[in-house]
Each structure stands twice: as structure tokens, then as C-alpha cells.
């Protein structure tokens, strides 16, 4: 059974293993594609994809792993893989710029029309 809150689950693992830095990204993608060839519907594609990425950072070394299974065993396996990967990397030298410009509020950019959510497959 997938865990209810996979992000909290992995972060709890990181605390339990005393990892100094860890972050988790949970992505959910849904899409619908309809292709028409010569006036006829040729292809309809509908999808839901879930994925969780884990990064463990130790002394400038970032170990990463991902999983599309969200059961406890799969999350633990991915976490262990990220832990195992980190010390094998050479440290990354990162120079951060000061006074980064503010990020625009996505709501104001008009990137998504919420009315599309109401459209059915038949339409």
C-alpha cells in the first residue's frame, strides 16, 4: 500500500539517520492528448504519473534517487540509494549570487486557465 504522506515519510527517515541535509520532491503529472489525422481521431492518451525524488547532501556532495512506487519499502530503498550515492561524488563548488531577484507570483503570470479543468474527454 502506498503511504499517505510519502514526503513526510522520507523526511522522517532522513531525521532518523541524522542526515544533515535532505530534500524531497513529489511530482504528480496528469495529461490528456487527442491526435487527429485526416479528420479522424487517431489517438487519445490520458495519464497520471507520480514520482518522488530524494536528494541527500553531505559536505557538498549530492546523492539523488527517485521512485515511482510509493510503498514504504520502495521509499526506504530510494532513500538508501541516495545515501549510498552521496559520498561517492566529488564535491560540487557552488557560488551563490547575493540579492537574488524576487520570483514572480505564478498566479500573476497567467500560465494556467482553471476553466480547462472542467472540460471532459468527449469535448
Amino acid at each position: 500500500m502506498p503511504v499517505a504522506d510519502p514526503v513526510a515519510f522520507v523526511l522522517a527517515l532522513a531525521r532518523e539517520h541524522r542526515e544533515p541535509e535532505a530534500d524531497v520532491l513529489l511530482a504528480r503529472d496528469q495529461h490528456l492528448t487527442v491526435k487527429v489525422l485526416n479528420g479522424r481521431v487517431e489517438n487519445v492518451e490520458q495519464a497520471t504519473a507520480l514520482g518522488l525524488g530524494i536528494r541527500v547532501v553531505r559536505e557538498g556532495r549530492s546523492g539523488v534517487a527517485f521512485t515511482e512506487r510509493l510503498e514504504p519499502e520502495a521509499l526506504e530503498r530510494a532513500f538508501r540509494a541516495a545515501q549510498e550515492n552521496a559520498p561517492l561524488l566529488d564535491p560540487t563548488e557552488v557560488v551563490l549570487a547575493r540579492d537574488l531577484p524576487a520570483v514572480a507570483d505564478p498566479e500573476t503570470l497567467g500560465l494556467f486557465n482553471p476553466e480547462l479543468e472542467a472540460l471532459g474527454v468527449e469535448e
Binding site: P2, A49, E68, V121
Partner: protein, 459 residues
């Protein structure tokens, strides 16, 4: 990977909503990659890909959906949604599943899980050291190991039930050399359908020399004057031109859309009798081999062109039905996120009677394209444009100076009949092929061969 009862219900629901064919594809894959750049281990990533693809056919309409949520309710809802947009038809009943074993001749003698990641890291550092040992003109080295275990289950409304698990191993190496006039890159990227033994058996010195020496030779090269001329294409990766300019137009995915110069040409001459071209999914441990395709059909050997005569297309279920040809076990997809379509496997031009020396000796002024680089092709017309990664001028029947910046430009079906000499030195090379169903491992290959005339771009 998924309960039989759940799969049966999904297929049943698809048929109940009017589909004339329903298929479930389950994938559970693990992948790992380690990259070295600028003497540093730059990236190590591990991952698990898991999900279910549901395909419903309503005549020639394909309704495809996928989900990484494999819960029964989620899959039944997905199937119902897919079927909702289909045409209503008389519902059929799914046939009972017949689990059939899949013959797997591909050797895996060292399971990757049993090998420490530190060994892989050391291997990459050794490749870096060996490549840089070819001289200070080697300014940069990039290398990477990629491994994958791909486990799939395919079941359909005709009762098919097949499962298989495969392992892939590949190494990529690029060397950049600079001697005055801009950087030049040499690349090697062998791979197998097999386990970790591939890396242990690999000749690292030879791999490093291949990339480094190619880059060094081109770094010191001048430019060729462009024009129409005879060209000798090198063996191995030179087959990428046939793959792109002839292989893709021979897939029923192109034929069924009437988007190929080979439409209606079965049984007709398309090349000189010296040329035979094959697409073979059965070659042991070859990168593009498939014990079964992604519709569950056994992978097989397909003769595309036999002594110059076009004999077969490469087909999947839908393409075979629409074009009216037999299925060739060529349906492939990158993952559960793609519906399968006809794709190549290990595609190559068979060996001929000539030596490379004979081909060179027959040319007064031309180009020897020893290694090919990247390019682009329009599959509908077969027009291609490929860069020559390592080239040499041919003057007076002899190899002359190295030349850089050459490109080969033409149309696949026009160039095929101009292949007049084919060598004995058949070699295959691993690559990744991108098309409608994603990126899949494929092999290209050929012996050295002579094209009587082709447009060469240069300076």
C-alpha cells in the same frame, strides 16, 4: 507485478465499453547512472520506474492511458475514461490468460546488484586517466556508465500473458582535443543487453584510444571542399544513415500514414543486388535485441531488403493490420508511458565481397567517412543530413589527409541504389533511437561500403 484478477477486470472493462482489443502493460524497472566530467564524479542517480499502461483499440483508433498508481480502482477508472471517448460497439469477452514462457538466450553472468558502486567509480576514473594519457591536447574527457533492469508483463484480451526481465549495460566516452583551430570530439559508446560482466570484459585501453585518437586526428585536420563525389562510409556506426534514412521509412508507423518513399514498393528493387539489409531482434546479447516485443510477440529476424529487393516492413499490431502485412515482432516503447509502435531492433546491412582497400583504390577523388556523427532526417521523404565525425580525403585511389567539417546530404531511397561496393568487415554499434514511442536501445551496423555519388557539404 500486478494481480491477474485486476488485469482481467481492466481488460474486461475495456471490452465492455466497446473496445475490440484491450491490453495491459506493466513495467517495473531499475536504472542507475554514474557520470564523470572534468576529472570529477559529477552525477550518480538511481531510480525505479513503475507503472501500468492500458491500450484500447477501437478499429484503427488507439486509446492509451497510463498510471503509476496501480490500485485496482485507479486502473478501472482510467480504463473507463479511455473507453468513454471511443465508439460504441458490441462488447466481447476476454479470452482466458495463457501464460507462455519467454526464451531468453542473453547471458547475464554478473548481476549488477552484487558489484559495489565504488568499482564503477574507479572504472570511470581509469577511463579518464587512459584517455588523457594520449597527450596534453586532450583538453576534456566525459564518461558515463548506465545500467538498467527492465521487467515487463504484457496481457491482452486475446489471452496473451508474457513476462520478461532484461538487463542493459552501456558505457559512454567522449574526448575533446584542441590543437589551434577549435575543439574536436571523439566518441565511443558500446553497450550490451547483458549484466556487469560487460564492464569487466571491456578493453578500456582500446576504448580510450578510440575516442582520444579520433579527436586528435580531427583536431589537426583541414577542411574538405564540398561537392558531389564518391564516398566510402566506414563500418559500424556508419549504419546510422541507413537506420535514419531507410529504417524509419520502412516502419509501418510511417507506411500506414503514407509518409514514406517505400509505400507500395514491396517486391520491387530498391538497391543493387549486392545489398541485403536485416533487422534482427534475436542476436545474442546485442543492445537492440528483444526476446519479446512490447506487444508480447517473439522478437525475430526480419530481412528488409534481400539482394536489392524490398521484402518486408517492420510492423506492430496496428501497423500490420492497416498496411496488410504480417507482424514482425517490432512493437517497442520506452516505458509504460508510451503506446507501442513499430521500431527497429538491430538493423544492419549484411557483408559483401569487397575490401576497404578495394573501395578506396576505386576512387580518384572522394571522401572516406570513417566515423559518423549526429544528423537529422525527414522520415517522410528520407532526406538526411549527417556530420562526419572522422573523415579523410581520398586522392588517386589512396587515403590522404584527415578532413573535418564534412556533412553527407541526400535522400535514403536515392542513395541506396548508388551503393556499389560492400565490404566484408561488418560491425555493429549501440545507439539510442528516439521516435513516437520514446527512446529505445537499437543497434546500427554495416560493413564499409562505397556510395558512387553523394553530396558532401564542406568549405
Amino acid at each position: 507485478m500486478l494481480h491477474e484478477a485486476t488485469i482481467h477486470k481492466v481488460i474486461e472493462r475495456g471490452l465492455a465499453r466497446g473496445a475490440d482489443f484491450a491490453e495491459v502493460f506493466v513495467e517495473d524497472s531499475d536504472s542507475a547512472a554514474i557520470d564523470l566530467l572534468d576529472r570529477k564524479i559529477d552525477r550518480i542517480a538511481s531510480g525505479n520506474t513503475f507503472g501500468v499502461g492500458v491500450r484500447l483499440l477501437f478499429g484503427d483508433e488507439v486509446h492509451y492511458g497510463y498510471s503509476s498508481d496501480a490500485a485496482e480502482e485507479a486502473l478501472l477508472e482510467l480504463t473507463a475514461n479511455l473507453a468513454r471517448s471511443g465508439r460504441e460497439r458490441q462488447a466481447g469477452a476476454p479470452a482466458p490468460f495463457r501464460a507462455e514462457p519467454v526464451a531468453d538466450p542473453h547471458r547475464v553472468s554478473i548481476a549488477p546488484e552484487g558489484v559495489a558502486k565504488t568499482e564503477r567509480v574507479e572504472l570511470l576514473r581509469e577511463v579518464d586517466r587512459l584517455t588523457r594519457s594520449h597527450g596534453e591536447a586532450i583538453r576534456q574527457v566525459g564518461a558515463g556508465l548506465a545500467e538498467k533492469r527492465r521487467s515487463i508483463l504484457i496481457a491482452n484480451s486475446e489471452g496473451l500473458w508474457r513476462e520478461q526481465s532484461q538487463r542493459y549495460s552501456r558505457i559512454r566516452l567522449s574526448a575533446i582535443a584542441e590543437q589551434g583551430d577549435g575543439p574536436q570530439t571523439g566518441m565511443e559508446s558500446p553497450g550490451v543487453l547483458g549484466g556487469y560482466e560487460f564492464f569487466r570484459e571491456l578493453d578500456l585501453k582500446k576504448l580510450a584510444a578510440g575516442a582520444a585518437e579520433s579527436a586528435l586526428r580531427m583536431a589537426g585536420a583541414g577542411y574538405i571542399a564540398g561537392g558531389v563525389m564518391p564516398v566510402v562510409l566506414g563500418n559500424g556506426f556508419g549504419g546510422v544513415i541507413f537506420h535514419e534514412a531507410c529504417g524509419h521509412p520502412l516502419e509501418t508507423e510511417a507506411i500506414r500514414k503514407n509518409a514514406s518513399p517505400f509505400v507500395g514498393k514491396l517486391g520491387q528493387p530498391v538497391a543493387q543486388p549486392i545489398l541485403t539489409a536485416i533487422d534482427d531482434g534475436t542476436l545474442a546479447n546485442r543492445w537492440g535485441s528483444i526476446p519479446i516485443d512490447d506487444e508480447g510477440e517473439p522478437g525475430r529476424r526480419t530481412v528488409l531488403i534481400e539482394r536489392g529487393i524490398l521484402r518486408s516492413y517492420l510492423s506492430d499490431r496496428l501497423g500490420a493490420r492497416q498496411v496488410g502485412v504480417p507482424r514482425t515482432g517490432s512493437a517497442r516503447r520506452e516505458s509504460y508511458k508510451f503506446a507501442p509502435v513499430s521500431r527497429m531492433r538491430n538493423t544492419y546491412i549484411g557483408p559483401g565481397p569487397n575490401t576497404l582497400e578495394e573501395m578506396i583504390a576505386s576512387i580518384a577523388l572522394g571522401l572516406y567517412a570513417k566515423k559518423m556523427g549526429g544528423g537529422s532526417v525527414n522520415p517522410a521523404t528520407g532526406e538526411f543530413n549527417f556530420a562526419v565525425q572522422e573523415g579523410y580525403a581520398i586522392r588517386g585511389g589512396k587515403l590522404a589527409e584527415p578532413v573535418r567539417g564534412a556533412t553527407l546530404i541526400g535522400k535514403g531511397f536515392e542513395v541506396l541504389p548508388r551503393i556499389s561496393m560492400i565490404g566484408t568487415d561488418l560491425e555493429l554499434a549501440a545507439g539510442m533511437c528516439g521516435a513516437a514511442s520514446g527512446w529505445v536501445p537499437t543497434t546500427v551496423g554495416q560493413p564499409s561500403l562505397k556510395i558512387d555519388s553523394i553530396l558532401v557539404g564542406g568549405r
